[in-house]
Amino acid sequence: MITINGEKMEWKAKMTVQDIISEKRYVFPLLAVWIDGTSVARDNFGTAEVPDDASVQVIHMISGG
């Protein structure tokens, strides 16, 4: 099990940041991601694997206006 912004989500082997983004339908383009406090560059979302028990923050940069 992992947490995404504090909410539980089932962990799958080889799960990447992009998998989480797709599953959560986070379509906003300005996303920033931290896995257990370490940031992941946007270009690496498709390859960065998320370990089990990780705490993931997917931050939507404020926008609008």
Partner: protein, 724 residues
């Protein structure tokens, strides 16, 4: 165009900008036909910075506590601010219009791009105050080349924006060089601004590629209605004193260096980030839909199955591409998109081929999903006519959405609407209502044009509609319609909209993602902190003449890797750019903390100003039920699982309850949260329980100006002090 007759004229010694300021303001009274120039003191710069701050200060000095929007002493004050007119860095050509609003009956500030703000400064003035009421239609001209200000008799029978703007650009341009028209800018409103309280102020720039005038809008608050109430058809500013150094900054090298870095960032990253250069703010359409934030059917829902029809890619195809669509020189963000070669299908200009400015996201949603229409062609046409008639596309969208729901609920009927079937999605009749506003003869259109706040009274008095139901569903606060985001699932955004200085507009704080999706604001104190920082930070843009979009609709590639999640949302590198730019222009040495302090001074001053005008207390921070959560069963049933969970989180078992009972229970709980939010935010802002800034707070800010303190003391009661 025939030669205009001069009614009054005044010559002036032109002050050139030095470090962002000319040090002079202009006052034109169209009632007694007088002109005046005032000095800008160092104290005025320190306390009010410029732009909206100058506007509020000058307005304060000119009105009384009893002043109403249509009294002659009410003013429209326009000021850009010290950074306005910088061309090296994107987004630096905005002006702010300040006035007592017909909708909110308190001060309102509204900004626009176009070239008026910079040209006004280069013609010699940090601000213009327009006061009085003319007896017949007039045009005001500030001619920086001839160093003359004139009030002229208007030759226009058709006062609508595109007619007036095109003619005046031609009139003041060199007949031998069409692009000489870029040295003037025109403010205008339109016929719809006369007949409604939703009048916008159109601000033009001459598009040298299209060889046509473009219109940007200070849309909100009814400034255009004041313009027309004063019988002003247009205000023209003209000067050839236009260059990249016309602002005369202290340190041009820093501006050039910072600008070059951001230009590169925008050009390389925008296509992977917000696509502002190709889709403009309409890139948000499908994103808002995905997160249940796209207002649909008067904010009942946040999603709609027809979203693909208004997907940003559809708009992208309609917008002309590869044109430098910046609304001021140097804006590589270039989001001022336009539809060229559009043939109008309705109205007085039916059959004519025109260029339409926009639609931006707010218009695509307001005159789109919120009224139940998912047809870009229709939205583009309403966008054009709203601008042309001088009507704010946000208020008219939200206002008509309210009318449609009233109609579908049976609160009003065809007899009241003079035959219009005001159902969601009825493109023909909604378009007709907008034309009737532009025509000015229809009594129902005039009633609607007074805005939701007054519509609630008028529908109840004239048609017997239930006031109680309308109070629940009318998306207005402090008298003005909400802009186009569904805020019901974010407690912080309730505040972002409804604890604002002037009513629900997204230019104070947009916190929905931070609060609801990122979960970065878990406690009421966290939300209050955000509702302190962001409104002040955003206010700063309005003091100096900036567009907000290049702050956070583009971010450096390493924004996330360099910062913590909490810091990253503030885009620290861009904030530091603004500090450096302010210092480079003015020669001062402010820090990022000073930047918030400058804003907080004006923010609190404006709050006291509202108080002086009889508003500005807790009871005016009203929020409708529709903004708090689902009102009717069908709203609940559109997201049953989600809302059932919301109830469970609040300790209520939804089992066995009807959807309507569930709505009512959640509403009651959320009303309690709202009151708690209000308390927490007021405390953080240094206001008393009644929402009034304390004298202590004013002293801390250096805003304990005797007459400001006197207003606070007059309205403060011992029982409103915090006990802890």
């Amino acid at each position: 165009m025939e030669k205009m007759k001069v009614l009054a004229e005044w010559s002036y010694d032109q002050a050139k900008p030095l470090r962002g300021y000319t040090g002079k303001t202009l006052k034109v009274n169209v009632g007694d036909m007088t002109f005046e120039s005032k000095d800008v003191s160092e104290d005025m710069k320190d306390k009010f910075t410029g732009g909206r701050g100058f506007g509020l200060k000058l307005l304060w000095d000119s009105v009384k506590e009893t002043t109403k929007w249509n009294d002659p002493e009410n003013e429209i004050v326009i000021s850009g601010g010290p950074l306005c007119g910088v061309t090296q860095y994107p987004g630096m050509g905005k002006f702010y219009a300040v006035f007592v609003s017909p909708l909110t009956e308190q001060t309102y500030d509204s900004n626009a791009g176009g070239h008026f703000g910079p040209l006004l400064k280069f013609a010699g003035f940090d601000a213009i105050e327009i006061q009085g009421k003319a007896k017949k239609d007039v045009v005001i001209v500030i001619d920086g080349d001839a160093k003359k200000v004139q009030i002229l008799e208007s030759p226009f029978d058709d006062v609508n924006a595109y007619t007036v703007t095109a003619a005046l650009h031609e009139y003041y341009g060199d007949p031998k060089d069409i692009n000489d028209r870029r040295f003037s800018s025109v403010l205008s409103a339109g016929k719809g601004a006369e007949t409604t309280y939703w009048g916008c102020i159109n601000s033009s720039f001459w598009d040298t590629h299209r060889k046509a005038p473009r219109l940007k809008q200070a849309g909100r608050g009814g400034g255009g209605s004041i313009l027309r109430d004063k019988k002003i058809v247009a205000v023209v500013v003209k000067t050839h004193d236009l260059s990249g150094t016309a602002n005369n900054p202290a340190d041009i090298d820093t501006l050039t260096k910072l600008g070059a870095k951001l230009h590169k960032e925008i050009i390389t990253l925008d296509s992977k980030q917000c696509r502002m250069r190709t889709a403009g703010t309409a890139h948000l359409n499908e994103i808002m839909n995905e997160y249940h934030l796209l207002p649909t059917h008067n904010y009942k829902f946040g999603q709609h199955p027809d979203i693909d029809n208004i997907h940003s890619s559809k708009y992208e195809k309609k917008f002309s591409q590869n044109v430098a669509d910046g609304c001021w020189y140097g804006c590589t963000m270039a989001c001022a998109k336009a539809v060229d070669g559009f043939v109008l299908k309705t109205g007085p200009w039916m059959g004519k081929t025109i260029t339409v400015d926009g639609p931006e996201y707010e218009t695509a949603a307001g005159l789109g999903s919120n009224v139940g229409v998912f047809d870009p062609e229709w939205t583009i046409e309403t966008n054009f006519y709203a601008d042309h008639y001088g009507i704010d596309t946000i208020s008219v969208g939200t206002g008509i959405a309210f009318v449609c729901e009233c109609y579908e609920l049976g609160l009003i009927n065809k007899k009241h609407t003079n035959g219009l079937e005001m159902k969601f999605g009825n493109k023909k009749d909604i378009m007709e209502l907008i034309h009737r506003m532009g025509d000015g003869k229809d009594d129902f259109a005039a009633t609607v044009g007074k805005g939701i706040h007054k519509m609630k009274d008028l529908f109840s008095e004239k048609y017997g509609a239930s006031k109680e139901i309308m109070e629940r569903i009318g998306m207005e606060g402090q008298g003005i319609e909400a802009s186009e985001y569904v805020c019901k699932e974010s407690i912080a955004q309730w505040g972002g909209y409804f604890l604002s200085l002037k009513g629900p507009q997204h230019d104070e704080a947009w916190l929905i993602f931070m609060d609801r999706v990122n979960k970065q604001l878990p406690t009421f104190e966290d939300k209050a902190e955000a509702l302190h920082y962001f409104p002040n930070f955003r206010t700063w843009f309005s003091l100096v003449g900036l567009c907000k979009l290049p702050w956070n609709d583009i971010e450096p590639a390493d924004n996330a890797t360099k910062n913590t999640p909490q810091e990253a949302a503030r885009v620290p590198e861009h904030v530091q750019n603004y500090v450096d730019i302010f210092n480079a222009v003015t020669g001062k040495k402010i820090t990022k903390e000073d930047l918030v302090l400058q804003a907080e001074r004006v923010y609190n001053f404006q709050r006291v100003f509202q108080l002086r005008l009889g508003k500005g207390t807790r009871k005016f921070h009203n929020i409708p039920d529709r903004a708090l959560g689902p009102v009717w069963a069908d709203e609940w049933e559109a997201r049953t699982e989600y809302y059932d969970n919301e109830l469970k989180t609040e300790g209520v078992d939804p089992a066995g309850l009807s959807s309507q009972d569930k709505c009512d229970k959640l509403q009651k709980i959320r009303r309690g949260h709202w009151e708690k939010l209000v308390d927490t935010v007021y405390k953080r802002r240094g206001w008393n329980k009644n929402g009034i800034p304390t004298v202590k707070k004013l002293k801390e800010l250096g805003m304990d100006i005797p007459e400001v303190v006197a207003v606070v003391q007059k309205h403060s009661r011992p029982e409103d002090e915090w006990k802890d």
